[in-house]
């Protein structure tokens, strides 16, 4: 069967990678081979970075409003191809078509916000800091930036960074995840159609060699990364420190959702299902531990309702509009999740809903990547399942006597990406918002995903860096403050 071999996009041209190594891109729901992706070499990265460096000189001098117009064109192209972009995501990742459309909208929103660069990038000034002397602060672009992308949001996550970086006058090399390279390839085709000057945005497919080449390239000024804590902290953040690069490393998570006895359980359930099982649990804002705060009868009621709702989730090919949860992204991910389920059972947690009992909407689909939702009850905070990131459709339910204990459970966990509370008490919500050390807080919202105007938070082992992605934070990250003190004789 003829399968497309993907190319890199360097200096405005589609080019073969300088490598003989390719890996397969497979639709996890159907097992079909979609494309072959090159695992590019350091030579490919070097070519892309040099192209960016050449383009930077002219691009940084292009007026911000003119740079924004390229982004307006890109946005229009994305809107025109909205469904096509969403379908690519579902095919290569497995997520449901609703989730892909949601991802597409959130990606486009980043482009929209970045078009505001003429105001977002403005500096400030003060007259007469001393008599006859004025002071100005400008924000200037820095040079070549890069993004090393994760597999869980193949369209959206690179757009947390690229539009802001180039709007601010930088140039960019994106390296998509080799597991899901098609969405970003489509995005880059749209960049090409929007007529961005060659070298402003380059794309190099690849894996470890390409990542290392980015991290060590002397002409790369900064790196953005979204992925696991092990890689983000120990490789990306540390190497960028050693090589003098700016860095945003958004990493792993173990998010707690606190369910207070005064919550509206029925209305909360849709949010809880989305949080724990949306995107098949493969998101850094996914709920992982449900902490039920209340008496025995509420605990039982909450657990029963949660299990009933999880058991009713329709699992299958995300292209089927009736499906609520797709497969895991590949068979290795499924194996990893299975390992956690087995570990949970061994450690004595009660597996109240076993997702290994497959019930797929279309039973003829290959089962390599599918799992139904699993729910463990009576988990304790020390158990592996309650501590480690599983990145799959597995929920753990814990109990806390009160909100203080729930918050201390959150704080005992090394991650600090997101936490949410479901309650009808303003006092409890305010306390939670104020005290919890996590970067993204949900109040009666299961996935507290900041929209593009706000920074994407993250604390503790979930984030390494200073400034965050999205919005004004991103513009600050991609610019350097220059202060001018001025006097005229």
């Amino acid at each position: 069967m003829d399968v497309a071999r993907l190319q890199n996009y360097i200096d405005g041209e589609w080019v073969e990678a300088q490598t003989g190594e390719y890996s397969d891109v497979v639709n996890p729901a159907r097992g079909e081979l979609l494309a072959r992706v090159p695992l590019s070499s350091s030579t490919d990265i070097d070519r892309a970075v040099k192209s960016c460096a050449r383009a930077f000189a002219q691009w940084r001098n292009t007026p911000p409003s003119a740079r924004a117009r390229y982004l307006f064109r890109l946005k229009e192209l994305m809107e025109d191809r909205f469904d096509e972009l969403a379908e690519v995501q579902t095919r290569e990742h497995g997520k449901t078509i609703d989730e892909s459309r949601g991802e597409t909208r959130r990606g486009i929103e980043q482009v929209e916000v970045a078009t505001g660069v003429p105001t977002l990038m403005q500096g400030y000034n003060l007259e007469d800091i001393a008599s006859g002397i004025d002071e100005h602060c400008f924000f200037q672009p820095i040079g070549v930036f890069s993004h090393i992308a994760p597999f869980n949001f193949p369209f959206m996550v690179p757009l947390w960074f690229i539009p802001y970086a180039i709007a601010a006058g930088n140039t960019f090399v994106v390296k998509p995840s080799p597991r899901v390279p098609l969405s970003q390839t489509r995005v880059i085709e749209l960049f090409e159609q929007a007529d961005f000057p060659p070298g402003v945005v380059n794309m190099v497919h690849g894996a470890n060699e390409a990542t290392n080449a980015i991290l060590h390239h002397p002409e790369v000024a900064g790196v953005t990364f979204v992925g696991s804590t092990a890689v983000g902290r120990d490789i990306i953040y540390k190497t960028c420190g050693q090589t003098g690069k700016r860095v945003i490393a958004q990493c792993g998570a173990k998010n707690f959702i606190v369910l207070m006895e005064d919550c509206d359980l029925e209305k909360s359930m849709a949010g809880l299902m989305t949080s724990f099982f949306g995107n098949t649990g493969q998101r850094c804002l996914a709920g992982a531990n449900l902490v039920v705060v209340g008496g025995d009868s509420f605990y039982k009621k909450a657990v029963d309702a949660f299990i009933e709702a999880a058991a009713a989730i329709r699992v299958g090919d995300g292209m089927d509009e009736s499906v609520q949860m797709g497969p895991l992204q590949n068979a290795q991910s499924k194996e990893r999740v299975l390992g956690y389920i087995e570990k949970g059972v061994k450690e004595g947690a009660t597996l109240a809903l076993d997702g290994r009992n497959l019930k797929i909407a279309d039973p003829n689909l290959p089962q390599d990547c599918f799992l139904n939702p699993s729910v463990f009850v009576d988990l304790t905070p020390e158990m592996t399942l309650a501590r480690e990131e599983i990145f799959g459709p597995v929920a753990g339910i814990l109990r806390a006597a009160n909100i203080d204990r729930a918050i201390s459970m959150i704080h005992d966990n090394p991650y600090g990406n997101a936490a949410a509370i479901y309650t009808s008490s303003g006092q409890a919500a305010q306390r939670f918002r104020h005290d919890v050390k996590c970067g993204n807080i949900g109040i009666n919202i299961g996935i507290p995903a900041p929209v593009a105007f706000f920074p994407f938070g993250g604390m503790k082992d979930s984030f390494f860096g200073t400034l965050h992605g999205q919005g004004k934070d991103a513009i600050r990250f991609f610019t350097e403050a220059k202060v001018v003190v001025e006097r005229w004789f």
């Binding site: 459309r101 959206m156 849709a270 949010g271 499906v323 996935i447």
Partner: protein, 153 residues
């Protein structure tokens, strides 16, 4: 089939609107008194599809409860009749039209109710379209009564 995801609801709404439009296009050529009205309804149905899609594509977010926002929406209960018998007279056509409008109205009302707290923008559009359906029936019912005559047919 139970409609639970946003995309399934949107697709079903589109199907209802399209089939209802097909019905009106066909009925217009059989019932000349109301031909203009029926063609107007068919055109309006196409606009309704656009309104629903616009709301959906504008607000959809993977972070919201798009996959879990709807319940108690079995598609069979709201299926629309697009066809009619070749010898169907005005009374029969009006009856089908009224039944279709009632089903679509009920569908939109239920969809609006369940999604109100979760997908409020979609819920608002559904409510507006349900009200428009009720208005259509207020228009169609007197015609049916007139056609049926004082004995009710």
């Amino acid at each position: 089939m139970e409609l639970r995801t946003s995309s399934a609801v949107i697709a079903f709404a589109q199907k209802c609107e399209t089939e209802s439009a097909q019905f009106y296009e066909g009925a217009a050529s059989r019932f000349t008194d109301l031909a203009l009205t029926f063609r107007g309804f068919a055109k309006e149905n196409a606009q309704n599809v656009q309104a629903i899609k616009r709301a959906y594509y504008s607000v959809i977010s993977d972070a919201l409860e798009t996959g879990f926002s709807f319940k108690n929406l079995p598609s069979e209960s709201y299926a629309v009749e697009a066809d009619f018998a070749p010898d169907a007279g005005p009374a029969q056509l009006l009856k089908i039209a009224i039944e279709n409008e009632t089903r679509i109205e009920q569908f939109y009302l239920q969809a609006a109710k369940t999604s109100q707290a979760l997908m409020a923008d979609l819920s608002r559009v559904f409510k507006r379209l349900a009200a428009a359906r009720e208005k259509r029936n207020s228009f169609l019912l007197p015609h049916l009564e007139r056609v049926l005559g004082p004995q009710g047919g």
